[in-house]
């Protein structure tokens, strides 16, 4: 099901991110650029699929800052453009955003940010909305899949009316949920790009205050533009006992909670689609005559705090009691849901609702004790498992106190048992190398521990390069381990500058990481992690060769890609029953307990190791780890 259907008025089942992409298409964009990041990746991924058909330029950029700059270039040259990023990505793009917000834009420029409440696929659950307020930029929050499309389209118009970036904030449940969307018209106009050299967009010293003044004074006109938008609405009785003010996914939760508790006659729901700046007249109209307000939103009390300020400034003579995150009625951290809203209403309205009888609840608690945990793990045959195994062995042989600085990607799981708990730090993209660069300069303080930094091929391009150059120039004693699996694996295998294809599948020149490193005078050792022994020995050698920044390139294609290509297994692996002593062996299930590949299972009848043929990818790595040599690999 594509987003490119030219069937205005038809109803489609679309993912929130697909709906946003469709909205951009209906708005007549010419350019889309992004670096992938969950839960935002499908916006540009979907547009890439229809790029040729609609004459779009779509690129997976090297990082979010460059993506925003590429999109802004189109805007400045008279072509509508969109960029999409996760909340961490917005931090990367923030420096440019903070400056382009001052100089302004030309044609519509929309920045979609996908926040991840609960950090389901993220290192943090940062609430990006604060950035709109810091920069005085308009902020829209879709609450449904239909709105995700319609608001995106409107955001381009808003952006043009104020000549500035418009931010569209989604969250995981909207971006990755699916729902019905009625399609609109697709424009079919040819776009011409031209940079009008009679204008300038230069944020230089001396102009900052003037720019700031102008953008600040613009806030009133943005609030006026919000005037009659259908994205702000009220439903409920004329004089509610309690007014729920809500936005985005919070609206879905609040509305369902009110319905579940049959509070439609007592509680009103005020939905704010335009959360910055606040829609002045709309709020003044609906807050008059209200005593109690509950704010439901994800993640921080952004709307709540701004509303409190609003009533002080704009609602003189009225007094309100606020419920929400500050009062403890809605959790001020973590993902919220319908139950959070039900709990708050239950408490405030003293209803006594229980979703289940206590006896049934008790039975559920007891039954849940029997459900085994299913933790995060590397896939069967994942090259990262093999790389970490070699690192674990090499570091133990090198004295055991080595520090491994991690980074962002599937290999982040090196902090867990599946990566033998080798990784000790994980922060932002490229931060593993940056921290390692610092650790590698602590020698004068008697620091002698070996230092390794991990990064993937895509992360290398995104943000590790400046840190690596820093380490080279300052002669930091570090090893950068680049785990190259051939693409941006974690987010769905988008290409990066090291791959010979672009977003639309066109052939592009690939940038060779080894050659780049070697041009800096860095010694690069290339290993195949499936060859555990050679990889461990390479690490040992590199660790001994101290004093400078070195690179180990651990290269092996992602096992999921191998599986997708239906390539033959490298080895047919089986357990030799005559050699595996099972629970009678002193190894204490070394293969399933320590190596932990999902292709290795424990036979509940014979109490010995077994290969799960449906899961095993045939990488052959486990053959070398059994102390009894009971795992046998025959070359396939």
């Amino acid at each position: 099901m594509g987003i490119d259907m030219d069937k205005p008025g038809s109803t489609q089942l679309l993912m929130g991110n697909e709906a946003i992409a469709r909205g951009a298409l209906e708005a007549g964009i010419g350019v889309a650029a992004a670096y992938p990041g969950t839960p935002s990746s499908e916006v540009i991924g979907t547009l890439a699929e229809v790029a040729r058909k609609y004459g779009l330029y779509v690129e997976w950029s090297i990082n979010e800052k460059v993506a925003l700059e590429v999109a802004a270039a189109a805007s400045l040259s008279g072509v509508r453009a969109i960029t999409a990023m996760k909340q961490n990505g917005l931090n990367v793009a923030f420096d440019f955003l903070a400056n382009v917000a001052l100089t302004g834009t030309n044609k519509g420029l929309v920045l979609m940010v996908g926040d991840d409440p609960g950090g389901l696929s993220s290192t943090n659950e940062q609430d990006s909305r604060h950035i709109a307020r810091i920069l005085d930029l308009p902020l829209l929050e879709p609450a449904t899949f239909q709105e995700a499309k319609d608001m995106t389209k409107w955001a381009f118009q808003l952006s043009e009316e104020i000549s500035n970036v418009c931010i569209l904030r989604s969250v995981t449940r909207i971006s990755h949920g699916r729902g019905k969307v009625i399609l609109g018209d697709l424009p079919s106009m040819e776009k011409w790009a031209y940079f009008d050299t009679s204008k300038s967009y230069a944020g230089i010293a001396g102009l900052a205050t003037r720019y700031h003044k102008s953008i600040h004074e613009n806030q009133g006109s943005i609030a006026d533009l919000y005037g009659s938008t259908p994205f702000n609405s009220y439903s409920g009785p004329e004089r509610p006992d309690l007014l729920v003010v809500t936005c985005g996914s919070g609206w879905l939760y609040a509305t369902e909670a009110v319905k579940t508790l049959s509070l439609e006659q007592r509680v009103g729901v005020l939905k704010i689609g335009t959360t910055w700046p606040l829609p002045t007249q709309f709020l003044q109209q609906h807050l008059a005559g209200i005593d109690r307000i509950l704010v439901v939103e994800e993640v921080d009390p952004f709307l709540e705090t701004n509303l409190k300020e609003f009533v002080v400034d704009r609602m003189a003579g009225h007094s309100y009691r606020f419920f929400g995150k500050a009062s403890g009625h809605i959790p001020p951290y973590g993902e919220i849901n319908v139950d959070s809203a039900i709990d708050a209403l239950n408490n405030i309205m003293s209803i006594g609702y229980r979703p289940r009888e206590e006896a049934y609840e008790q039975k559920c608690r007891e039954a849940a004790q029997h459900v085994p945990p299913r933790g995060l793990q590397f896939c069967a045959g994942c090259p990262h498992r093999a790389t970490y195994w070699a690192i674990k062995d090499a570091l133990r042989m090198a004295g055991g106190n080595g520090v491994v600085a991690g980074d962002i990607g599937c290999y982040t799981m090196g902090i867990q048992a599946t990566g033998f708990s080798q990784v000790k730090t994980v922060h932002a993209m490229g931060s593993g190398m940056g921290l390692a660069s610092g650790l590698g300069k602590l020698e004068q303080f008697h620091f002698e521990q070996p230092v390794l930094a991990m990064c993937g091929d895509s992360t290398f391009f995104h943000a590790a390069i400046p840190a690596l150059l820093n380490a080279v120039h300052n002669e930091a004693d570090v090893v950068l381990v680049i785990v190259d699996n051939g693409g941006t694996a974690m987010t769905g295998f988008q290409p990066h500058p090291g791959v010979d294809r672009d977003a639309g599948g066109e052939i592009r020149p690939e940038i060779n990481i080894e050659k780049l490193c070697e041009s800096l005078g860095i010694a690069v050792t290339v290993v195949d992690p499936y060859d555990i022994e050679a990889t461990r020995n390479a690490f040992l050698e590199v660790l001994e060769n101290r004093g400078k920044a070195r690179v180990v390139m651990s290269r092996r294609e992602c096992a999921l890609i191998r599986a997708g290509k239906r390539l033959d297994p490298i080895a047919r692996v089986r357990v030799d029953g005559s050699k595996c002593y099972g629970d009678n062996c002193g190894c204490n299930r070394y293969c399933t307990r320590i190596f932990r590949c999902p292709g290795l299972i424990w036979d509940r009848e014979t109490l010995t190791a077994k290969i799960d043929e449906a899961v095993c990818s045939g990488c052959g790595v486990c053959v070398s780890i059994c102390p009894q040599s009971a795992i046998v690999g025959e070359t396939a």
Partner: protein, 206 residues
């Protein structure tokens, strides 16, 4: 035959282990409901893991045009379709109520924690006692065995889709799902997928 026709909303949760193909089921059913004029909201829950973790697709079906939360509230599941039995129980304990219906595959996929000796996997008897005790009715389907007999374990999700339609709980026509299956697969794979669907249907309704 029991049917949830007329209930607002109907909450279906499809659960299993990453890689079993529960998203294909939620999209097939979602498309079928959209064509019949229902409003559908689907939420997928999964962690950072690409494969091998617990996954659930929440399908919320409204005949009143409502958009509901993409995640089902506590205790509000009407039907649980499980591709893996311990995952069916996990979802039932979180989202079930005494009137919940369950249709579950019987073949376990053992978590690494079980192979490592750090956790116990419940016996088939324990699982069925617990699920039967917490649900209005639970159907147990040897879907993996049926799929393997057809030559491919990956057909398990289609067998279970057949079983779900076979329960008669959802207001969906068998012929519509068969048409959507034909549209979803290439010519050479249609026959085996339709066969898998029929065998699942018959395992419950036959």
């Amino acid at each position: 035959m029991m049917s949830l026709l007329g209930k607002e909303p109907i909450n279906l949760i499809i659960t299993g282990v990453g890689g079993q193909g529960n998203i294909l089921i939620s999209r097939l059913l979602g498309q079928a409901f959209i064509e019949d004029g229902y409003a559908i909201t689907i939420g997928e829950t999964y962690g950072a893991t690409q494969r091998g973790g617990s996954v659930a697709s929440h399908v919320r079906i409204s005949s009143e045009g409502m958009v509901y939360s993409p995640v089902t509230p506590r205790g509000k599941a009407d039907v649980i379709l499980g591709l893996e039995p311990s995952e069916s129980l996990r979802i039932l304990t979180a989202f079930g109520h005494p009137e919940t219906f369950v249709a579950t595959n019987t073949r376990p996929i053992y978590p690494l924690e079980v192979a490592a000796g750090e956790a116990e996997y419940p016996t088939r008897g324990t699982l069925s006692d617990l699920m039967t005790g917490l649900s209005r009715k639970t159907w147990y389907i040897d879907a993996s065995a049926i799929a393997l007999a057809l030559g491919n374990a990956l057909l398990t999700n289609i067998v279970m889709t057949g079983a779900l339609i076979g329960t008669g709980l959802l207001p969906l026509k068998r012929a519509k799902i068969e048409r959507l299956i034909r549209e979803s697969f290439s010519d050479e794979r249609q026959v085996v997928n339709l066969h898998a669907f029929d065998l699942g249907y018959d395992a419950v309704a036959g």
